[in-house]
Amino acid sequence: MKIHPHDKVLEAFLLSLAERDLDLVFHLARCSYCRSRIYYLPRPEETVEGEAACGEPLNLVQTRERIEGWVRAVEAERDEAPGLFVELMSQPVARWGEVLGADPRFHSWGLFELLIERSWETTIPDSAHAEVLGRLALLLGERLAPSRYGAELIEDLRARAWAHVGNACRTRSELHSAEEAFGKAFDHLEKGTGDALERAILLDLLGSLRRDQRRFEEAVDLLGKAVSAFLKIGDRHRAGRSLVNLSIVHNHSGHPEESIPVLYESLDLIDAEQEPRLLLCARHNLTTFLSEAGRSVEARDLYRETRPLYRDFGEPWVQNRRQWVKGKIARGLGSAARAESLLLKAREGFLAEGIPYDTALVSLELATLYAEQGRTADLKRLAEEIVPVFASRNIHREALAALAFLKQAIEAEAANLEVIARVAAFLKRAENDPELKFAPLSVYR
């Protein structure tokens, strides 16, 4: 068809379709990847050698030679990059920018990439340093010759460097700076190559920022777009990662039950060999949400499947959470004594690690257990122990007020199960919402 069909022709065509075929048409309208497949499906039985594009043969020999030459040049720069990085880092911090700008040896793609990569890797252990490395990369990006590397490719990496700067700011709760950095990241991305993977990575990171800003609807929308984009280019693992991120958004927005199907979906996508810790994280969170939703048998079965993975990560951070979730499952299955022993073990672990918030949450689960059994003396002893631990730490003021209120209620023997559950629910919400105010009266409602 050489002309655009008339409305009536199009309407008649659409009305003639079964609902399933209509869905397919609307999918094709939105999905350029699937539209492209129309041109080669159904596959011919045999391919004609040297077939033409627009009537002429498509000869990629010279194109391939140029690409191979380019690969050799980039690889040579990548080989030199670690040495240049060490040389740069051996300079005083205050001189990094000056040295990088002045010496053309540093103006290489390999070092550009390496700085961006190191910026990402450093985000969790030292977000301030991650930001410095990201900004160094940006400085270097300004020195790279567009005629050599391609202006669009440089723009792509500038976008990523800004996204890493923004992400580092986010992890330090500097949300305004993070917002600015992401704005710049998307400005550069618009001038880039149009790489769908680069865009999806940025959408995922921006989703994390929206989550921390408590703009949950936007976070859900961005992460949904990231998942679709990753799947479209065959990146199942990153799609799984974004789903784990999405499940965290549901939890922070107070809808943990919505996390369950999302996490199940993520398990089918995550590549365990590529990132076993992510798989553990998804499985652990799912086990926790299942047990909290009263689906204890399902949680127990999932926990059993996850045991080998827990063993691979021996650090206290993981093992304490393992005891905690086991305690939740045992409680849900009606094994009160076992649950108490596991929750005490988790609580000791968190105390030893110096993590007051998780200690408080586990303590409240223990308090519920004691209240269920009418163990008032144990409840009072637990309350005596809780508040001093938190008063000495840097803990959310409103959370401290909630715990102090609970202590008073326990001492006055007015703390029933409902009061404990409401304080626990408040603490869980307050963990992700520092602005949340504790209203003691609401506890009694």
Partner: protein, 85 residues
Amino acid sequence: MVASDMDWPRPDAGKLLDQLQPVLERIFRGYGISVREAETIVEESCRTLVTKGLRRQEPLVWLLHDIVERCERSREERSFEDPPP
């Protein structure tokens, strides 16, 4: 972004092009792309693929997707210049 992007084996653009060649010819013909422009598109997509140290789980799918996106953009630009009657 996933861990150890830098250590991921780089995709071999030549091998990927071998696999895609018959499909590419049909795609370019379908989008009405000239041979010269097709070569430019393939080169730019491959350069993006090999230059960026991003770990791509399915480089073949990415490459096909990227080439098609470039064809789409090219067609959009042409239709903007020459609107249908």
